[in-house]
Symmetry: C2
Subunit: 266 residues, 2 copies
């Protein structure tokens, strides 16, 4: 293993242990910089195959990084000591599609039939953008990225159906072109943008009122650039109404031992 | 050599011979489909080094495919029997920056000190776009691509200085994103777009009045997408006022024996 990989494992393990020990319950943006963070979806086995089919059919919002064995709270390909029941700062528990609880660990809720899915997250491609000197407005503003439900429907699978949710970053046209090039290299963390420039065309009537996250200013000479977003499964859960589901709370991601840079397809 | 390369040589040679024999003097769009076509700039040796420095500093509008020996009218890397004095359908002759003549061959003007430059042309990346099913509006309209002088200045070299000229193709946002990906693979034929969506930001006040070529409609739900254009050297000649220069006439390009597909960087 390289020194960079060794370091990623050390840093990832340390941050998960801090979270596991209850020392940290905030959002994970900026933690373990360089490490892949992941969206989490946990479903009963009876729904897991349909959800995996849904993810396969919708790889831009739902790029699958790992799927656990039924009942197994570990994801060894993402971190040796990783325990999905404790290693995220905050969870959301959904019953019949309704958000019922936001616990900081889910030991008491664990069942032998639960299947965990880790999905790619935009933090990875944001690191690549920042390293090329591209300003990300929500970071400048110290807020969460604005996210919107679109009028684009995901490809349904079983009971899973719903709108594509997108995140938006305002960029100059030159940065937008460069951002397409950079993020195209990262298909496992949402990849290239899905839309540029015309929010009404995808059913977004007001950029100032995102459905999730916080609004950010779009300056003159900038275009809104939209990427498929890992919050899509939460919008789908709200529509598909599975009897039971656990997700991460927005911004409280699973920190892995993988390096963002290793996700580049070329 | 592969069968495809053999075929490209056969087709290129045949089309150049037709043009050389005076059988064809129109624009070369659509001729020898699959073969690279090139922009032409011919300058006296006293100016050639400055022009090559200009091209090196401005690779997006001036990607150099080949430079001939001084006085040599051949470009063997682009075609075995290629004769730059006869093999283009139409030329433009410039004296002190003024267009004085549009001959169909330049034997009588040839001098021992002339240096020929072949520069990449958008026809190559347009083929790649068409093969992915992307509509090119100027083709639908049966017209020349619209081209505009921008307020972006090229990097000067010696006396060579002037505006970046861009070509414009209206695309849906989804096609614009795909077009960035496709054309990024072809840096030797202008590469990725230089601008998307905000023509005023680059000094274009009216898309309906291009400086070269023909206007095309931009429909609702489309963005104007701008690529660096091989007409840039002609705008530079008009500003730098070299004592003598020969270029291709717009749309009357040099047909080579190279395959467009071989220009892909990955």
């Amino acid at each position: 293993m390289t020194a960079a990989t060794d370091r990623a494992i050390t840093v990832g393990t340390r941050e998960r242990r801090r979270i596991r020990g209850g020392e940290f319950s905030g959002t994970t943006a900026g933690l373990a910089a360089g490490n892949v963070q992941a969206n989490l979806v946990i479903l009963p086995k009876t729904l897991a195959h349909d959800f995996l089919r849904f993810a396969q059919a919708n790889p831009k919002p739902c790029p699958v990084l790992a799927v656990a064995e039924p009942g197994d709270p570990h994801l060894p390909t993402l971190g040796g000591d990783l325990d999905i029941r404790t290693d995220l700062p905050k969870y959301r528990v959904w019953r019949d599609g309704e958000l019922v609880e936001e616990p900081t660990e889910i030991h008491a809720l664990w069942r032998d039939d639960l299947v965990s899915f880790a999905l790619g997250c935009s933090f990875s491609f944001e690191q690549a953008l920042i390293e090329e000197g591209i300003e990300l407005r929500h970071m400048t503003c110290g807020s969460n990225v604005p996210m919107y439900r679109t009028n684009i429907r995901c490809v349904p699978a079983g009971s899973f159906a719903g709108p594509l949710v997108v995140s938006m970053r305002p960029l100059t046209p030159v940065d937008a072109i460069r951002a397409v090039q950079i993020t195209s290299r990262f298909p496992s963390v949402h990849g290239a943008p899905v839309h540029i420039g015309l929010p009404h065309a995808i059913g977004i009537s007001d950029l100032g009122h995102p459905d999730y996250g916080d609004a950010v200013p779009v300056h003159d000479g900038e275009l809104p650039v939209f990427w498929a977003c890992g919050v899509t499964p939460q919008a789908v859960v709200a529509e598909a109404l599975p009897e039971f589901c656990i997700t991460h709370a927005p911004g409280s991601m699973l920190i892995t031992d993988l390096l963002n840079a290793k996700l580049a397809s070329l």
